[in-house]
């Protein structure tokens, strides 16, 4: 058996999940090394968010095993569930910030509710997290008063304030423009280096994921069809990887062909 402190942090084997008759995850398996940024790519509707929710215990998988530090996770076991949640954080696609709480109160919430720390210590740690994410000047503002990028950083501050070993990122760049997408991935890479947590990201942004990740995997039809370093992904001849990676080029050639055939010109007329 691998040493829990030196072996992989998270290992997924044969994970399955279906909703009624619709199979979302067929046989998902991968390994996340400690201190890495592991990104699961896949088109919208591929089941990436479901995968993340199964790993975080929000959804109950139909089968398969999730090993955290070589220990199989059973979310029905309360002690195990609480221990796992103390050590991991989850950053939601829509941030899931509490709009009736200020930025400081949002960040302080997990400390207030899950630790016996004094009010002063909780406040100090919350402010420290806000300072590290350059939000100290906005501590008393409500999330609705912050920009989209600030809200993302606030959600990250709340995720890291408990010093988790692993952070799950669910589509952290959904709905953002290219510049903000870059900024979010840069933020994840920067704070991952600062705090040393292991990151598991699900996204469909290929370019940014390849630049920021240690390992990239591709989820296709409920299975991981590729997993490797970004440069391996960039050079892979796997047909699914190629079609996903080269989709902008494919779009360009389709449009060129349509222009040559006159389809676009006719439509314009």
């Amino acid at each position: 058996m691998a040493n829990p402190k030196t072996g992989p942090l998270l290992r997924v084997e044969g994970l399955r999940k279906a909703f009624d008759q619709r199979v979302v995850l067929r046989d998902v398996g991968f390994t996340v090394e400690r201190g890495s940024i592991y990104t699961v790519l896949g088109p919208s509707g591929a089941g990436k968010s479901v995968l993340l929710k199964c790993l975080a215990g929000v959804e109950q998988p139909d089968g398969g095993t999730v090993l955290f530090e070589s220990q199989p996770l059973d979310f029905r076991n309360r002690a195990m569930r609480e221990s796992f949640r103390r050590r991991c954080s989850f950053l939601f696609q829509g941030n899931a910030l509490f709009d009736s709480l200020t930025a400081r109160q949002n960040v302080a919430l997990p400390l207030e509710q899950t630790t016996p720390l004094s009010r002063g210590e909780i406040n100090r740690r919350a402010m420290e997290a806000l300072r590290q994410l350059e939000l100290a000047d906005h501590a008393d503002r409500f999330p609705g008063m912050l920009s989209g990028g600030m809200q993302k950083r606030l959600a990250l501050a709340r995720a890291i304030v408990t010093h988790p070993e692993m952070v799950f990122f669910d589509e952290p760049t959904a709905g953002l423009d290219p510049l903000r997408r870059n900024a979010v991935f840069a933020m994840i890479a920067k704070y991952q280096a600062v705090f040393g947590f292991t990151a598991l990201i699900v996204t469909h942004d290929v370019v940014e994921a390849l630049a920021a990740s240690s390992v990239v995997a591709l989820l296709h039809q409920g299975e991981i069809c590729f997993a490797g370093r970004p440069e391996e992904f960039a050079a892979s001849g796997h047909p699914v990887v190629q079609s996903f990676r080269d989709s902008p080029a494919a779009l360009r050639s389709t449009l060129d062909a349509m222009r040559k055939g006159g389809a676009l010109t006719e439509e314009k007329e």
Binding site: G57, P110, E112, Q113, T114
Partner: protein
């Protein structure tokens, strides 16, 4: 037809079971929820303080109308001196607990269902669970405990304002001696009546806030509706079911206690 009826019955029973488990889980989380008194205080403010104007207004008008109607009925029999008894017993036994509960459902209950529905929609409830915070203990338990204080307090306030409204109608407008009115109130209301009033207020509080919290918390389970429509449907359902539950519980409690 039989199969449809059977499925409907099974679904209702399952819903009742789900509701009972929801309440049990929320109350069970009381001991493990940190900083609960502060959360209860906030819930008391939301349910109680914000509903004060509506309780005062409705209580006053109920008392005024009871005073008027009661006076003209009693006047036929030359018993205007019993106006205080009629107003007080009507308020304490029936009208105050029922009307105060219905007002609280309309204001605090609907707000609670909508707030929890939006929190469900924006994944705030799931976020609590992933942070290791019991969402039942954090969001529902304080509201339930606050209701056990707020409903009796608001009912008592409703009675007080209603009695005053009755005396305004009877004494100021219709000429009943104020001394006779208030002594009739004192003679009529017994500890049994107050006990019945308290039991009703406590039951209505737990029932309605429980139902509103349950509907909002499970807004994602509303059929054929998502997003804002699901929140709206959950809120409507919460208010309708709570209102019916108040009237049904009132009948059951009255039939056992009278």
């Amino acid at each position: 037809m039989v199969a449809a009826l059977g499925n409907y019955t099974i679904e209702r029973v399952r819903g009742l079971g789900g509701f009972a488990l929801f309440i049990a889980r929320s109350l069970g989380a009381v001991l493990s929820t940190r900083r609960l008194p502060a959360r209860i205080g906030r819930a008391v403010y939301e349910q109680g303080f914000r509903c004060l104007p509506v309780i005062l207004i409705v209580g006053m008008f109920t008392g005024l109308v009871l005073g008027l109607q009661g006076y003209y009925v009693l006047n036929r029999f030359g018993s205007e001196g019993l106006l205080g008894a009629l107003v007080s017993l009507s308020l304490v036994r029936e009208m105050a607990p029922v009307l105060a509960a219905l007002m609280l459902v309309g204001q605090a209950g609907s707000a609670l269902a909508a707030e929890l529905g939006i929190q469900r929609n924006s994944e705030q409830i799931v976020a609590l669970d992933t942070m290791g915070i019991d969402s039942h203990g954090y969001l529902v338990a304080p509201r339930l405990l606050a209701a056990l204080f707020v409903f009796p307090a608001q009912t008592a306030l409703f009675v007080a304002v209603g009695l005053w409204g009755g005396s305004l109608s009877g004494s100021l407008l219709l000429g009943v001696d104020p001394g006779i009115y208030w002594s009739s109130v004192h003679r009529a209301v017994e500890s049994e009546d107050v006990r019945e009033c308290l039991i009703k207020a406590l039951t209505f509080g737990a029932l309605t806030i429980g139902i509103c919290a349950y509907q909002g918390f499970h807004a994602h389970r509303i059929r054929r509706a998502t997003g804002a429509r699901a929140v709206s449907a959950a809120t409507t359902k919460a208010v309708v079911i709570s209102s019916i539950a108040v009237l049904a519980a009132d009948y059951i409690i009255t039939s056992f206690l009278v």
